[in-house]
């Protein structure tokens, strides 16, 4: 975290150091003025000692670029299903990224039987069942279709599960909440292909099945299939990465990630949900009374402060930027508030443009830390009238046994030494 210059006098807007969300905007204008007058000053003529890379020409051009080796420590957090190398999940290190787009190499993963090695020349997409004409598409033909691009997040419904344990564990933001990522996805609206197959009026569900070794499948309500569902082929401008479904996946904006089936090979229209293993044994919400709700597909309104966050260490006293991400499966984020005193007082943050439907939205607010202990929290609101619940509201409504759809408010405790830790409030 960078310590910032204090130029204008900070105005406190909520207790425990929270400042006017526009404070940095005002300060940078002041800094610019100061900077330009400094340029007028005298110029030193001492000989600069140049680093090696400035005394020889640099590295050659390359066909495909890679990040700096100095950034190699920015890695996904991997957690494997016992006894396997390809089942399990890897989570996005949210606290090490800026902005709303997840780089392709850091998009979270969740596989049930590893990543298939698919040659697109041999891959086909079959659409059949309750259609008027079953059709099969080659990748080559799909590439000729008109496509649309959308910025959408994908969140696993098991995201944030560590905070469903009865004791708070000392983890980073990405370890707890990193099963969410956001990309620009480009592909063909499923409705285009279904217009070509025709739809039998009895069709109510759409099975999507992958070409992985587990042929994982999920049932999609037909209204969603005809609404904003995409057959995605590109991720942030390039072909979808193998671990995200190469050569194509289905993408259901705002719905739990598991239903956005990767390596899509087959779509079957049906009059009933297929009741696959991943919509019965898994991804069903166990209630406190022992019943289980099925097909709770939409992800809730949620936010998390990514900086400062778990296991980070603040530097010297002074002004910091609190920075985070917010999203809602129901629509668009309208507001994110932050508290520095464990929820006693709240103030609005600044939402960074662009703010898009079912996408990640970035929020930020300056905060003055002078060694006082603090508990940082954020809560988000969407345009459908939803507000992110507190931990106790979530437990009241869903209980800790629910296992999925945890969107409770995250609390990060900052102690007087500046150590940041996951806590329950």
């Amino acid at each position: 975290m960078d310590k910032k210059l204090t130029l204008s006098k900070p105005e406190h807007v909520a207790s425990n150091g929270l400042l006017d969300r526009r404070y940095f905007l005002k300060s940078s204008a002041a800094y610019l003025t100061a900077g330009s007058s400094m340029l007028m000053g005298s110029i030193s003529h001492a000989q600069r000692s140049y680093p090696d890379y400035m005394t020889l020409p640099g590295a050659p051009l390359s066909g495909y670029g890679h990040r700096s080796v100095n950034e190699d420590h920015v890695q996904r957090y991997i957690s494997l299903t016992r006894g396997t190398t390809g089942a399990g999940n890897s989570r996005t290190p949210l606290e090490k990224l800026h902005g709303i787009i997840t780089p392709n190499g850091l998009h979270f993963e969740r596989h049930h039987s590893g990543i298939p090695d698919i040659n697109p020349d041999n891959h086909q997409l079959l659409i059949h069942g309750l259609v008027e004409r079953p059709l099969v598409f080659s990748m080559e033909n799909l590439m000729k279709y008109p496509m649309v691009s959308r910025f959408q997040y994908i969140e696993c419904s098991g995201n944030s599960r560590p905070n469903l344990a009865s004791e708070a564990s000392d983890l980073t933001c990405g370890e707890i909440h990193g099963m969410i990522s956001c990309c620009e996805w480009t592909g063909i609206p499923l409705s285009t292909l279904l217009a070509e197959t025709g739809i039998n009026p009895n069709a109510k569900w759409v099975l999507a099945e992958g070409a992985d070794a587990a042929e994982m499948g999920r049932s999609i309500p037909i209204e969603k299939a005809l609404d904003d569902t995409l057959i995605a082929i590109f991720q942030n401008g390039e072909a979808i990465r193998p671990e995200n479904g190469y050569p194509l996946r289905i993408l259901l904006p705002g719905y739990e990630g598991n239903i956005s089936v990767k390596w899509l090979q087959r779509i079957k229209l049906s009059d009933v949900p297929l009741m696959t293993r991943d919509e019965t044994s898994k991804y069903t919400d166990l209630q406190k009374n022992g019943t289980s709700e099925m097909f709770t597909l939409e992800m809730g309104v949620k936010s998390v402060i990514v900086s400062p966050s778990g296991k980070q260490q603040l530097g010297p006293h002074g002004i910091y930027e609190i920075r985070g991400l917010a999203w809602s499966g129901a629509g668009t984020i309208t507001r994110v508030e932050v508290s520095a005193d464990g929820g006693a007082s709240w103030t609005d943050t600044l939402l960074t443009e662009p703010v898009m439907r079912k996408s990640l939205t970035q929020f930020r607010i300056p905060w003055e830390w002078n060694g006082q202990p603090a508990i940082l929290m954020s809560r988000s609101y969407d345009d459908q009238g939803n507000r992110q619940p507190t931990r106790s509201e979530f437990i009241q409504n869903s209980g800790l046994q629910v296992n999925y759809h945890n969107n409770m408010i995250q609390s990060w405790q900052v102690n007087s030494e500046g150590q940041v830790q996951n806590v329950y409030v």
Partner: protein, 174 residues
């Protein structure tokens, strides 16, 4: 005279028509062979179940050879998921979800084993073996008898103990 609303509706219709006539229509008619070999879907009503049959007695040796190494000799769980027991724990503080205690449909068990198991060698079992293994796992969970023969006509009728505890507020379930 057109109102704005009418113009809007007509425009939408036109766009719809254009979109339809402009879609490339590059799908091909799949062969009957593709349709039947790719369509492995089994629904909760039992539609899609293949021919063949099996009993728990027949399933035991197959399970010991192909499944027990990961799931335990009696399906009690070893490296991987426990498949047996946990009855009466759902709704308590320590829910143990297994095929017997949790799963709502027996058809799901057939469908899942056929597509995904054994983990290291999926799509290697015959339809007959899948019936036998399904029967054996249901038998270990005390849902059917050792000699009860399962096939496409009776698998969907098996009453799973936790079936009625599943619900949906939004969707009609079969």
């Amino acid at each position: 005279m057109y109102t704005y609303k009418n113009i809007f509706v007509i425009t939408l219709l036109l766009i719809g028509q254009l979109a339809l006539s402009q879609t490339p229509n590059l799908g091909e008619t799949p062969s009957q062979e593709m349709l039947s070999s790719w369509d492995t879907t089994i629904d909760p009503l039992g539609r899609g179940l293949p021919d063949g049959s099996g009993t728990a007695e027949e399933g035991q040796p197959v399970f010991l050879m192909k499944c027990a190494a990961c799931h335990g000799l009696e399906g009690e769980g070893l490296i991987n998921d426990r498949l047996v027991g946990g009855h009466g724990t759902i709704g308590s503080d320590r829910a143990v979800k297994t095929v017997g205690s949790y799963w709502p449909y027996a058809t799901t068990l057939y469908d899942y084993i056929r597509r995904a198991m054994p983990y290291i060698n999926p799509h290697s079992l015959s339809d007959q073996e899948v019936y036998q293994l399904t029967a054996y796992i249901l038998y270990m969970n005390e849902i059917i008898e050792a000699d009860e023969r399962l096939d496409k006509n009776n698998l969907a009728n098996i009453e799973m103990p936790n079936r009625l505890n599943f619900f949906s507020y939004e969707y009609e379930l079969p």
